[in-house]
Amino acid sequence: MDIICPLAVPKGRRLCCEVCEAPAERVCTACTVTYYCGVVHQRADWDSIHEKICQLLIPLRTTMPFYNSEEERQHGLQQLRQRQKHLIEFCYTVAQKYLFEGKHEAAVPAALHSLRFRMNLHGLSSVELVPAYLLLAEASLGLGQIVQAEEYLSQAQWTVLKSTECSYAIQSLLHRNLGLLHIAKENYEEARYHLANDIYFASCAFGTEDIRTSGGYFHLANIFYGLKKLDVADTLYTKVSEIWSKYLNNRYQVLSEARIQQIDLLGKRFETDTGLDEAQEAEAIQILTSVWNIRESTSDTAPQKTIFVLNTLVMLYYLMMHSSKAQEYAERAFGLAKEHHLSVHEQSTIQELLSLISAEETHPVT
């Protein structure tokens, strides 16, 4: 961590802080291409994203080497573009993951990086900027900076409005964030409108029963829950848990079929996975856990629903290879089923899940 003196910088060259764009006074010693205004921002950036991309930034921020032929030059440019694209995606996913884990502070620098690279690559008024704006807005919302969030969202909305072709997926995301913004502003009427739009666009993009549509349903359910319209909220929560349960069960089916088909001669353990990226996994955990918490409060009247959510959670953790958590939830579900004297069929399904997990535990990962 070296200190640089802004006055000593050659004329016409301005070094800016990576986070706040103020005149820089420090430089990262690892890559020597990233500058900061102070220790605080440097630490924040390091913790958030810089640690992961420090070395990747060097080729992007140093001048291109001298190429002898046009061909090589083109190739170099191509390579540069590839790197930028990769970084955009990487920063985006990292930021998203932080967001789902609730680390909003950490998400901001990553999202900013994503936004900046996008601006470089696509220009200022491209639709490609929208996802990054949305991430930033979400992070700001999480930090409670509503004005900031609104600014980002307005920016995003304006970009979408101006562009003639904008994918349904992006529009859905935009409306989801607008919905969240209005929830934060406690303007539920508007929030419902935007969430409805979100579900509509997500359905157009992925279908009504897709896990990417479930987020909209979930937030809408939360609004109704907050407004004490419990019956509406209840059907929406049911819908959300059904979507996830269906997806996870399908995934499990596919995996077990694959397992049967390729008989492992080496006795290698078959890996399970959810088929989701990290952000989606975090979202799944968040959504299902909060649905479960809500169900828990009404588990006396409708234990089946609680058990259904619990089963889904068990399946999720099992596929994520979190055996201990899966076990915990499965036992909870089993206890609940016994307590309420549910039908043999339901008890047996939970039993099955339990045995599945314990079988997994007896062959621990080597």
Binding site: E190, R192, Y193, L195, A196, N197, I199, Y200, S203, T208, E209, Y217, L220, F224, K229, D231, V232, A233, T235, L236, K239
Partner: protein, 502 residues
Amino acid sequence: MTTLPPLPMTHPKLTSLARQKLPCFPSTIPRSQLIKEKDDIDHYLEVNFKGLSKEEVAAYRNSYKKNICVDMLRDGYHKSFTELFALMEKWDALQEAARVRSLFWLQRPLEEQPDKLGHFYHHLTRAEAAERKEYFEDVYNNLYALACYFSNSEDKWVRNHFYERCFKIAQRIKIDGGKKEAEAHAHMGLLFEEEGQLLEAAEHYEAFHQLTQGRIWKDETGRFLNLLACESLLRTYRLLSDKMLENKEYKQAIRILIKASEIAKEGSDKKMEGEASYYLGLAHLAAEEYETALTVLNTYSKISIDLEDDLSLGRAYEAIAKVLQSQGNMPEAIKYLKKVVEIARNNFQSLDVMRASTMLGDIYNEKGYYSKASEYFQQAFDTTAELRNMRHVDETKVHYGIAKAHQIMLTINNYIESEDLTSLDYLLSWKENRSSIAPHPIIGKTLLFESTSFCVILDGCIGDFYFIGNFNYSLPHEYRMCLHAVLYVPLMIRKAGNSGND
């Protein structure tokens, strides 16, 4: 010259606000205050000037379909949304399929039919609200209303979808003792019947019948549901048995028809019972079980007599005659057929008269009573001539021609066989004028022969010329008949000639 009074200048609050705050003040106002003032103005504008609200802007910018969907969703009607969305997707798939097969797809997309979308919105959301409160009857009513709305031919698949939904919901309605369930069964039966899946249709109709048994439910038009069930069930059974008869599965067909007639008996509607036994009789006839066919048809005729229904009595007698004819009991068959002719004539059923007369003629023709045969064929011909139905006219004409040919053949034969000058004279004179031939002294009968069209046939035959051209046969059936006659007659004549020459 008068000056007009100055126009009263209105200074709305907006202008004063703007004057107060906006231009003339030096830039000492901090930025935050400016933003706040702008917010004030925005708020004032929003409250006092009725511009377009956000919803109105959205309604203008977006398609009606999207607005409907969003409206559903924001009120939490996600099931309605899912259903509507699935329907629209299916519509697109249908259109795509039609495009691939390069059919011309007449229907406009659902998005362009706001009234239909409006209906969807209205009923689906109501149904969902009722479902949440577990008022299944309301759910049923709303879904049924939708099904009715889409009952025109091009939207059949939508109707079918809602019939299926109704069926599922109806099974959960317990309060009304199963009336809705019965209705749903009826709809499902109709659905399957239209698709030609008769077995499934029969299953649903059976359920419908069972549920309505002993109930006095009526539908909207005031008809008893039980009766309706019987009718639909019988219709399906009949179609089923028809199919089986085509495939020569007589036993199964008869079993089904027996079931049908039992149901008809329970339905205590005499007419239906009669119908059932009529078809049962026909099935027995097809299976060549004449005795049973006769008993069953006799019941039908009895029922028809009780009901004083001449038409069905005629049908009964005709069927009985057919059975008798197949049995070879000609005198009885003739008796019944004569009754049929009489009944049909009394009721001015020309087609029946024609059919019965033709059958009678056939019988006589087979037995060799040519004059009688030709008499009945003439009757048939006269009747059809009144009807001016070219197809029937041609058919009977040929029949008549054959009978006539048979009739005079004997005389001509005899003349040829006798090989004397007088006979030759007679033959020649007949050939000259072609109107009539003198009776042969041996037979001693007077035979008249009119110069109608069949004379041409006969003439053509004797001269070995086939004069088919005189007839305008457009239909293959008649054509066959005619050819038959033409080929048949000269054969006989030639035979006669040969025997004469020998």
